[in-house]
């Protein structure tokens, strides 16, 4: 556990929680990233797109600001398998739409509302995620 960073992890988590609280209090919306994306690229409704685009642009800007403030926080990985990345991304796309959410919508907002669906979804994706990493890293799959 030499890379374990509980303090920044918890602090970053507080910021993410604050982000979700602001969204619900002012806009009455759940901060679920896959759902927000879906409302732009698939189920796009007139007058319901701009806030979504602004949220996602804010997310990109947040990543940019982080890099600006802490440029040496970690070394980005290099030479990761393109096949794994594209296949995995495609599966994430199908899975998050089938399961109506991802880590943010189910894991943070849903669990906070004690939604049975979100609790079940979160346990499920944590489990299959861990099994997948086990197979890839330890079974030379």
């Amino acid at each position: 556990m030499e890379n374990f960073t509980p303090v920044p992890a918890f602090a970053g988590g507080l910021l993410i929680g604050l982000s979700a609280v602001i969204m619900l209090l002012f806009n009455g919306r759940i901060t679920g990233i896959s759902g927000i994306m879906d409302g732009i690229v698939i189920n796009s409704k007139h007058g319901d797109r701009v806030w979504r685009i602004c949220f996602l642009l804010g997310l990109v800007l947040g990543g940019f600001l982080f890099k600006l403030i802490m440029p040496d926080s970690f070394i980005p990985r290099d030479g990761f398998s393109l096949v794994l990345l594209i296949t995995g991304g495609f599966i994430v796309g199908i899975g998050t739409r089938m399961g109506s959410g991802c880590t943010s919508g189910h894991g943070i907002c849903g669990i906070a509302r004690f939604s049975r669906r979100s609790i079940l979804a979160t346990v499920t994706f944590m489990l299959t995620g861990a099994i997948t990493v086990y197979l890839i890293r330890h079974m030379a799959f």
Binding site: N3, P8, A9, F10, A11, G12, G13, L14, L15, I16, G17, L18, M23, F26, G28, R29, I33, M37, V41, I42, V50, R52, C54, L56, G58, L59, V60, G62, G63, F64, F66, M70, R77, F80, G88, G89, I91, V92, G93, I94, G95, T96, M98, G99, C102, S104, G107, I108, A112, S115, L120, A121, T122, L127, T128, G129, A130, T132, V133, I136
Partner: protein, 137 residues
């Protein structure tokens, strides 16, 4: 206009939070999922931090009749624990374990000027279209 400002601020906070917690780094996420390897429990602390805030404050917010800048709250209404939910979450976990990216960090990591998350996001969008093609008859 107010709603747009709020969603921009919310997005920025979320992105910075993913950076500070280093969830923007797919290797960090994979180290959390690698429970039998050199396990890094940081992701659990990110969720604990976020849930500490949301669990308490969502409760208070939802006592209101309406959000500040809209007429009503838009919350998920489905209750059933159906095969779609479980199958979808299972698939999502597989893709997450293959790449180390879920949708939020993939989008935020684009802001770090990296190419990898751009490909990831395009692949996710392709998956959205595939889902629509398969399930929307």
């Amino acid at each position: 206009m107010n709603r747009i400002i709020i969603s921009s601020i919310s997005g920025i906070l979320f992105g910075v939070g993913l950076g500070v917690s280093e969830m923007i780094n797919p290797n960090k996420v994979l180290a959390f999922l690698d429970v039998t390897g050199d396990w890094d429990p940081s992701l659990a602390f990110v969720m604990a931090g976020a849930l500490l805030i949301t669990t308490i404050i969502f409760r208070l917010i939802l006592k209101r009749d309406r959000p500040i800048f809209d007429h009503h709250f838009k919350l998920p209404t489905k209750q059933e624990l159906d095969p779609h939910l479980i199958g979808g979450a299972a698939l999502f976990g597989i893709g997450w374990g293959m790449t180390g990216y879920c949708p939020g960090p993939a989008i935020a990591a684009i802001g770090m000027g990296l190419q990898e998350p751009v490909i990831m996001v395009l692949a996710i969008i392709a998956g959205f279209h595939a889902h629509k093609f398969i399930f929307d008859k």
